[in-house]
């Protein structure tokens, strides 16, 4: 047992007492995120080609893609922000935002008990945005 009558912490405590606290007063004082900080996955529905690579590589199985329906969805509560999906996305449709994910409350739980944090996109026009094969990656598809 350490001798409790030795007081090595006293000078430190006294120094602290007279100096400014180290506390960052969070809600009123928000520290900007570092570069490369991983927070929320953002999805650009315009550029996605529903290749499903992100879904296949996602370690948390947070991403669901249904190519036939042009649907792309993510469970933000399951996502671990590992950045793999961003790295594999050929269309650069996925980006990693520095901002933290949103906090959710129970009232957002769906009627069937779906968790909150479910985000879902549907491609506007499947005919325009859906190349059938990954090989057909020609940039001229706009015609």
């Amino acid at each position: 047992m350490a001798n409790p009558f030795r007081l090595p912490m006293v000078p430190r405590a006294l120094r602290n007492l007279v100096s400014r606290p180290a506390t960052r007063r969070y809600p009123s004082e928000i520290r900007p995120r570092f570069d490369g900080a991983r927070g929320t996955i953002e999805f650009d529905v315009e550029t996605c080609n529903y290749c499903m690579l992100c879904m296949r590589r996602c370690p948390a199985a947070a991403i669901t893609v249904v190519r036939e329906e042009r649907m792309w969805s993510i469970e933000q509560l399951t996502c671990i922000a590992c950045n793999v999906c961003v790295e594999v996305c050929a269309k650069k449709s996925l980006t990693m935002s520095r901002d933290s994910k949103h906090v959710h409350v129970r009232s957002e739980v769906g009627p069937q008990g779906q968790r909150p944090g479910h985000e879902e996109w549907h491609g506007a026009d499947p005919a325009l945005t859906a190349p059938v094969k990954p090989a057909a990656e020609a940039p001229t598809s706009a015609s």
């Binding site: 047992m1 350490a2 409790p4 009558f5 007081l7 090595p8 912490m9 006293v10 405590a13 006294l14 602290n16 007492l17 100096s19 606290p21 180290a22 506390t23 007063r25």
Partner: protein, 285 residues
């Protein structure tokens, strides 16, 4: 002006919680600053108390709550008796009884944590009680009075004759206030081997009673310090403030001691400092 001391006793019952609560609030802020934190608002202890009173209490058995009421009641009574003109030595015994009720309340619960806390609180009692008896007896001896008002009115400067006792007081008060390194029975700090020690199974208003009693207890300790500085009571309160600051410093700079050490050291201090002081007093007078 001649005021019946009973008035002071009644005032104590109502004002001591305010004093104790503010003291606890200061304590938390200063502790936080010593840890380089901002800390809670000054009134935080009152918010906590209010919340605990609003919250439901889970009953662990039917006897814990009445015993805790006894605890806070006797604590208030001790202070009221102290200021209200009861014999000083007698209040030492009532103080011990008040503390005992907390032990009994915790001991009545079946939880191993509560029980261990209760047993350790008994040790705290055993460690501190001899000192308080000696202290109050010696104060009576020195001042030739037997009541609080009597000591204040006495022309003798008590602290000059009881320096050893005053030193010992600062040591024993650490035990009584359950400050580290002597917070063996419970503490306000997070995770520990005892969970929350003797308050482990007290929830809601039951915990509020414990908190209240602790406030009364700090006020009683402050009153004890005032006894030492009977020629100028504001000086006594000032000394109490400084001593309390030191307590906070020690609290923040030490790790918890084993109960064996608590018992041995406090007995040694009581015997050497207070006992020596009393001996000198009896030999020289």
């Amino acid at each position: 002006m001649n005021v019946n001391p009973v008035v002071y006793g009644v005032l104590f019952v109502f004002l001591a919680p305010v004093f104790g609560g503010l003291l606890a609030g200061m304590d938390r802020i200063i502790s936080a600053r010593m840890q380089s934190r901002v800390g809670p608002p000054l009134l935080q202890p009152f918010y906590d108390l209010g919340k605990l009173l609003q919250k439901n209490a889970r009953q662990v058995n039917p006897i814990a709550e009445p015993l805790l009421l006894g605890h806070v009641g006797f604590m208030a009574a001790t202070g009221a008796m102290l200021l209200g003109g009861t014999d000083l030595v007698f209040t030492a015994f009532v103080l011990a009884l008040a503390a005992l009720f907390l032990v009994l309340a915790a001991g009545s619960v079946n939880s191993p944590y509560s029980h261990a806390g209760a047993e350790r609180e008994l040790i705290v009692l055993l460690a501190s009680e001899p000192f308080f008896i000696l202290m109050l007896a010696a104060i009576c001896k020195v001042s030739g009075a037997s009541t609080f008002g009597g000591v204040l009115a006495s022309p003798v400067w008590v602290a000059w004759q009881l320096p050893g006792m005053l030193l010992a007081f600062s040591f024993v008060a650490t035990i009584k206030l359950r400050k580290s390194p002597f917070d063996i029975s419970t503490s306000h700090h997070a995770h520990q081997e005892l969970v929350s020690g003797l308050t482990s199974d007290m929830s809601g208003r039951l915990l509020a009673y414990v908190e209240m009693a602790h406030w009364y207890e700090s006020a009683i300790l402050a009153a004890f310090v005032v006894l030492f500085f009977n020629w100028a009571w504001p000086l006594g309160l000032g000394v109490f403030a400084v001593a309390y600051l030191l307590e906070i410093l020690v609290d923040n700079s030490t790790s918890r001691a084993k109960w064996q050490l608590v018992l041995r050291s406090s007995w040694a201090v009581t015997l050497l400092l207070s006992g020596g002081n009393v001996l000198a007093l009896f030999l020289l007078k």
